[in-house]
């Protein structure tokens, strides 16, 4: 089987789920004839028709709201944000309506909200968001953020089949940059389970999304100095795999949390706090976070590169921890 790109994995997941289950449909801006701004839904209109691939007005509230209403009726909508940056426009209805259905009303509201996220593509401050932390303190929404083609497909299928609202964060930098051999069979990646991407014993890097590759590079570099790095690919942010984090820290006693969103109030803070409470005795050194500067992602390449985390900063943190 030919290698599948990250973006094709997403398209496949939608297509297969729509074929499997007629309750699944796609709704968003330009998802139909155009196939989505990144062509993620290319071909779906032809396969499934305009009833199930719905082009909407520019109305994120309506997209998320209508998806939620349909979900309550037993449908399984996938709501696309053209860029996840625009999810802010539908923020209210997502956190206050969609995410509250179970806790307040005992209603299943199985929507998936998905779209391109992340920086590194010179998209500027309005096309580079890493949105997870905006939702972390608003209970009721699951959040996943695949960093591999395998996970992109498996997590999207899991999200579509999940009975709760799920925010599915796809990293646009990875769309066409990574390729993998995927299984021919139908598979899912369970929400809430981390993947130990690399086993190691001296240091743990907890990360997800496009930062996996920064972690890989850093680990390769550290290996030259005989440092063995464990990389935990979190994949799910809500719920997250606390056990996997704590186990790894218990083994390596040193931890870096690496994410692309700004440092302050990023999801990494939560993971650090959990470790500082629950794995305190295992820690031989401070918990380090490597993240973007606390600014909107700037547009110009030199600024963007300076704002986003990179291998150099990870290596520096790693060396500080190892020398601690």
């Amino acid at each position: 089987m030919p290698e599948t790109t990250y973006i094709d994995a997403i398209t496949q997941a939608m297509s297969e789920e729509m074929a499997r289950d007629e309750r699944v449909f796609l709704i968003g801006e330009d998802v139909g004839a155009y196939g989505g701004a990144f062509k993620t839904s290319y071909g779906l209109l032809d396969k499934f028709g305009a009833e199930r691939v719905i082009d909407t007005p520019i109305s994120e509230i309506a997209i998320i709201g209508a998806a939620s209403g349909a979900a309550l009726m037993g449908m399984r909508p996938i709501a696309e944000m053209q860029f996840l940056d625009f999810i802010t426009c539908g923020y209210d209805i997502l956190v206050n309506f969609a995410a509250m259905n179970s806790y307040l009303f005992g209603r299943a509201c199985p929507i998936v909200v998905r779209g391109p996220a992340g920086g590194g593509t010179h998209g500027g401050p309005y096309h580079s968001i890493n949105p997870e932390a905006m939702f972390l303190n608003r209970p009721g929404l699951k959040i996943v953020a695949p960093g591999t083609a395998y996970d992109a497909k498996g997590l999207l299928k899991a999200a579509i089949r999940d009975d709760n609202p799920v925010l599915y964060i796809e990293h646009k930098y990875l769309y066409r940059r990574i390729k993998e051999n995927l299984p021919d069979d139908d598979y899912i990646v369970p929400i809430g389970k981390a993947n130990v991407r690399r086993r190691g014993k001296d240091l743990t890097i907890i990360t997800w999304g496009a930062m996996l590759y920064v972690a890989d590079d850093a680990a390769d570099e550290l290996a030259k100095d005989n440092v063995s790095t464990e990389i935990i690919d979190l994949r799910s942010i809500v719920p997250f795999d606390e056990d996997a984090i704590l186990e790894s820290v218990a083994k390596t006693n040193r931890v870096i949390i690496l994410h692309e969103a700004p440092l302050t109030g990023g999801a990494g803070a939560e993971f650090a706090a959990r470790i500082a409470e629950k794995a305190f005795d295992y820690l031989d050194a401070p918990i380090k976070r490597i993240a973007a500067l606390d600014v909107p992602t700037p547009y110009s390449p030199p600024l963007e590169a300076a704002a986003l985390p990179d291998k150099t900063r990870v290596l520096q943190a790693a060396r500080e921890l190892l020398a601690y």
Partner: protein
């Protein structure tokens, strides 16, 4: 007199009385501090609320979405008075088990109604989605949403109406122009000539009618519903009515000119409807009194049931965030 049978007309009267009586009971419970949180009266608006909801066909799967003042509408849809009282009293065996308040409850696929959330306007896109799902499922259901003069200023309202209109969804929206949004008069809410004029922006049908004319509201809504059911798309119906009480029990509505209240008191929809029933020989005063007795008994029973209900178990506070945890069964 409309297409309604005498039986149906009396049924409507029953719901009008039930609404008013139930709300009066809630006021009493509020004064006894048994109702927790705010109490929002629909006094003066029961007519349109009941009449519009009565025009739906719940057996077809039609769904109504009330605002806080549309107790009448959900009673018509089948909500139980005891459930409403339990919600207000924050009881543990009410529909939301004490998690949400007043008439914020209901399931569109199960109950025929879905309570609003507090964020005004948000239910309009949601109701559009329910209508969309109905169409995808090849069901002939229609959704009926209420929105206030105030709520119709929200971006969510606009986006939902626009989407529903583009999609020609089977949806009817009642804009209750009751003069005020909290303390804000409609003139500060919009410069539009009428709220029905908003329909031009969506390219849907729009009309302004007397909200205290029960039969008029029924007929107009019914036509809009059947039009929607047969593929004719969205209708926006502005009903002109008046909020006879303050925004909530704590609000003495000092900002409302006294004459305006007096003027609208004359136009009470329930009185007017019942006069009509008597005039046209549909019912005698005695029959109407009998309805009131029945209603009172039901509300008494419901109050007793709610009173006996337990408060929620604090140990449950953390449960049910995700649906699969089984808390809701």
């Amino acid at each position: 007199m409309s297409e309604l049978s005498n039986e149906q007309l009396l049924d409507i009267d029953y719901y009008l009385r039930l609404t008013r009586t139930l709300e009066e009971r809630l006021v009493a419970l509020f004064r006894q501090a048994k109702v927790i949180g705010g109490l929002y009266r629909s006094l003066g608006q029961e007519g349109e609320s009941v009449a519009a909801a009565y025009a739906l066909d719940y057996k077809q799967g039609d769904v109504v979405q009330p605002l806080i003042r549309n107790i009448g509408a959900i009673l018509v849809a089948g909500a139980k008075p005891a459930d409403i009282i339990k919600q207000y009293m924050a009881k543990g065996d009410g529909p939301t088990r004490g998690r949400e308040l007043n008439i914020h409850f209901g399931h569109p696929a199960r109950d025929g109604f879905i309570g609003q959330i507090s964020m005004l306007g948000d239910m309009i896109p949601v109701m559009a989605g329910i209508a969309l799902a109905g169409r995808m499922q090849k069901r002939k259901l229609v959704t009926l949403a209420f929105i206030g003069d105030g709520g119709s200023s929200t971006g969510a309202f606009w986006e939902g109406m626009n989407f529903a209109s583009v999609q020609k969804l089977p949806m009817v929206v009642i804009v209750e122009n009751n003069g005020y949004a909290y303390s804000t008069p409609t003139s500060k809410q919009t410069a539009a000539r009428t709220l029905a004029d908003k329909s031009y922006a969506f390219g849907c049908a729009g009309v302004t009618i007397d909200g205290n004319d029960v039969l008029g509201v029924y007929d107009t809504t019914k036509r809009a519903i059947e039009n929607a059911r047969s593929g004719g798309g969205v209708t926006l119906i502005e009903v002109m009515t008046f909020r006879m009480k303050g925004h909530a029990e704590h609000d003495n509505q000092a900002y409302v000119p006294k004459e305006l209240i007096a003027e609208w008191a004359e136009k009470d929809a329930v009185v007017r409807f019942e006069n009509l029933l008597v005039e046209r020989g549909v019912a005698t005063r005695e029959q109407l009194d009998a309805i009131q007795q029945r209603v009172k008994k039901e509300v008494d029973d419901a109050t007793d049931e709610a009173d006996r209900s337990p408060m929620p178990d604090p140990a449950h506070a953390g449960k049910g965030l995700f649906i699969e945890d089984g808390y809701w069964g």
